[in-house]
């Protein structure tokens, strides 16, 4: 092994030279979209904006999901930060706003622009009465399944209503020689969908809010411990593909697309990832792909219509040119959002766009979210980076059979106490 001294002088020299003077305004946008068609669409919107606004250009940059999240803290404090960034809302947004690096959009987002969104969507990006982001897309977590493999094992997806039904389906698939579930355990968050969705089914909105207020045992309370126990029931059946603990999310989406397993619990963005990572770059065709919502649990207080997912949007960083805000206004107009919906890139939040969705699964998900009275944002985003990561850790650890459900719930509660 070698020991290499790091020479940092070069950075200093480089920093001095980079101050170029540009005649026109360049807005830098950073996104995480993996699907080439969807990011081509984003570039197309940027090109249209530049064409209609002489003197302004939008520079679109991509960063892989995990790297994006990890780089953001440092990036946002650098003078060279991007002007428009992608956001999951929740605790990370809270920290960023508290640090004063995000522009307040309250005065810009008024009138027609503001009315494009439902109050709930605006609310997700509102802190202390100020709007800090432009909501753009919603997602829901549920089970995608491969119709051929379900048919092969004689499993009827419509009959999977409860957690016990799911366990029975897993057993049936296994005995038919089919890998029941694909999971990207290496990235951990794909597993945390199980733990958190079980908790939502067990305890509903009230349990989560009580935990946030640190009432009673907080995240170590019964619904959360039970969620771990239920996940353990599943894990004990060995339902996942071999080596799932090392598989990343993109890898696992590709494996599902290649037909290596019957189900995957993911948000609808999995479809884009599946297309990008399958061996044939297409994955499972629409007619072979099914979807069913997360099953209910026995005695659970949550409503079957409660949803877990994301409400993602865009933020403008402090000190950005006015064109950054203007571009988001341009981008969120119904014309583009309807196109994104029609081409199946995502489910837009803007009103009057969802009827443009052609993909039946996305159409169903849009209706679910519309109906839902409790749309829980992903825990790992909602709880902030330090606590959220612990939720991911313990979920993956239960799947790896290294901790007990009680220890898992207690670890989350400890992290929550430590951070608040």
């Amino acid at each position: 092994m070698a020991f290499r001294p790091i020479i940092a002088i070069g950075f200093f020299l480089a920093a001095g030279i980079s101050a170029a003077v540009a005649a026109d305004v360049r807005v830098k946008l950073l996104h995480v979209e993996q699907n080439p068609q969807a990011s081509a669409f984003l570039k197309e919107v940027a090109r249209r904006y530049a064409a209609e606004h002489p003197g302004a250009s939008i520079d679109i940059q991509y960063l892989e999901n995990e790297s994006y999240k990890k780089k953001m803290t440092t990036l946002l404090q650098s003078p060279d930060r991007p002007n428009i960034i992608y956001s999951w809302g929740g605790g990370v947004l809270r920290e960023q706003v508290k640090a004063g690096v995000i522009e307040d959009l309250s005065s810009a987002m008024t009138g027609v622009w503001r009315e494009r969104f439902s109050p709930a969507a605006i609310q997700a990006y509102t802190l202390n009465g100020k709007v800090y982001g432009v909501p753009m897309q919603v997602s829901q977590v549920g089970f995608f399944y491969n119709r051929d493999l379900f048919a092969k094992a004689g499993v009827d997806a419509a009959s999977i209503k409860t957690w016990d039904d799911l366990l029975a389906a897993v057993k049936k698939l296994k005995s038919a020689g089919v890998t029941p579930i694909i999971a990207g355990g290496g990235d951990k968050w794909p597993i945390h969908f199980y733990w958190t969705h079980l908790a939502i089914r067990n305890g509903g909105k009230s349990a989560f809010e009580a935990a946030l207020r640190s009432e009673g045992e907080g995240f170590a309370a019964v619904p959360f411990v039970k969620a771990g126990e239920q996940l353990k029931q599943l894990v004990d059946l060995d339902p996942f593909q071999p080596g799932f603990l090392g598989a990343t999310f993109p890898q696992s989406s590709g494996q599902f697309g290649d037909g290596k397993g019957a189900m995957v619990l993911q948000g609808n963005f999995m479809l884009n990832s599946m297309r990008a990572n399958s061996a044939d770059k297409k994955g499972i065709p629409d007619e072979k792909l099914g979807w069913f919502p997360f099953p209910t649990t026995a005695g659970g207080k949550g409503d079957a219509s409660d949803t877990l997912g994301g409400l993602n949007g865009w933020l403008v960083t402090k000190g950005s040119p006015i064109q950054a805000v203007d571009f988001l206004k341009f981008f969120s107009n119904p014309e583009f959002q309807r196109e994104a919906a029609a081409r199946g890139f995502y489910i837009p939040v803007a009103k009057g766009t969802q009827d443009a969705i052609t993909n039946p699964i996305l159409r169903g998900i849009a209706a679910n979210i519309e109906r839902s009275r409790y749309h829980q944002i992903f825990y790992d985003q909602m709880l902030g980076p330090s606590v959220g990561a612990v939720v991911n850790d313990v979920s993956a650890d239960i799947a790896a059979k290294v901790i007990t459900p009680k220890e898992a719930a207690r670890a989350v509660q400890q992290a929550w106490q430590l951070a608040n």
Binding site: A2, F3, A99, P242, L245, G246, S386, A389, A400
Partner: protein
């Protein structure tokens, strides 16, 4: 005397400035941050005393990281360096093909760590990888090496030896070429056996080189990071964490800069203790 003073005045300030700027100052800052609960935004305000250190030493993952670092040191010293030395002795003589072999063994060291990590991720892949293919040909079930808590660290150790032994081999070759050939001739005339030549001539004269390469190997092992990220990111369930991947995972990515700084301080203390301790041993022996 005056001349010496001029030299000091001329050469000390740049080195002192760089050292202060890039070593002393950041270290002092890290020590300062480590007594706060701070997420990296703005200035640290929430003073917590030694709480970060307390949490650190209670954490099971950190203990795993320490053990893994010790394992890397052990493998570097017990397998990597002897292998490098054996290769160096074979390849130090000038014969046809020696240069080519030297190059082949040195190539892994030149490869970027992340690229090497990704290559090995493919090699270890349970579905399409080379290891899986070989296992199936031999009639075993394909192992998912990097997803297995018991195997993953061993798999990484293999990559470490593969990646860095070429570097140490080159150091040894340089050392071997400085040994006076007359000594070998004299040993030969006196009827020394191959083993005697190795133990009585080669190794004693190579001693300073070996001391240097041990120093590099141990310090590099303590700071080991970049191969692990593309291979396992410290997983599954923290089984392949090292001190630095632990720092990155639990400090940087979770926006716990205060806690991460505490890890950094511990790492610094370990490195400094080793460097000074090693130097003392070296001095005493010389």
């Amino acid at each position: 005397m005056n001349g010496k003073l001029a030299v000091v005045l001329l050469f000390l300030p740049p080195a002192l400035l760089l050292f202060t700027l890039f070593v002393a100052l950041p270290m002092g800052e890290a020590a300062w941050y480590s007594i706060f609960n701070w997420n990296g935004y703005g200035t640290p305000e929430n003073f917590v005393g030694l709480k970060n250190y307390e949490l650190l030493f209670q954490d099971r993952a950190f203990r795993t990281a320490l053990v893994n670092n010790l394992l890397i040191i052990a493998v570097s010293l017990a397998i990597q360096l002897p292998l490098a030395l054996a290769m160096a002795i074979l390849l130090a003589d000038r014969f046809r093909g020696a240069a080519m072999f030297r190059m082949i063994f040195f190539v892994p060291y030149i490869l970027a760590e992340v690229a090497a990590g990704l290559i090995w991720r493919f090699v270890y892949d349970g579905d399409y990888g080379l290891v899986a293919k070989i296992a199936t040909i031999l009639g075993f079930a394909a192992p998912y090496v990097l997803a297995d808590r018991d195997l993953a660290m061993h798999a990484i150790l293999v990559v470490i030896v593969w990646k860095y032994f070429g570097f140490h081999m080159m150091i040894y070759i340089a050392g071997l070429q400085q040994i006076d050939p007359n000594l070998y001739e004299a040993a030969h005339i006196d009827g020394a056996t191959g083993r005697q030549v190795l133990w009585r001539v080669t190794l004693p004269l190579l001693r300073p080189t070996i001391m240097l390469s041990v120093f590099f190997a141990v310090l590099g092992s303590i700071q080991f990071f970049d191969l692990i990220m593309p291979l396992t990111k410290g997983g599954p369930s923290d089984s392949t964490q090292t001190i630095v991947t632990y720092l990155y995972t639990y400090g940087v990515t979770r926006m716990r800069i205060g806690f991460g700084s505490a890890v950094g301080v511990v790492l610094f203390v370990i490195c400094v203790a080793f460097a000074f301790g090693y130097n003392r041993i070296k001095m005493r022996d010389e």
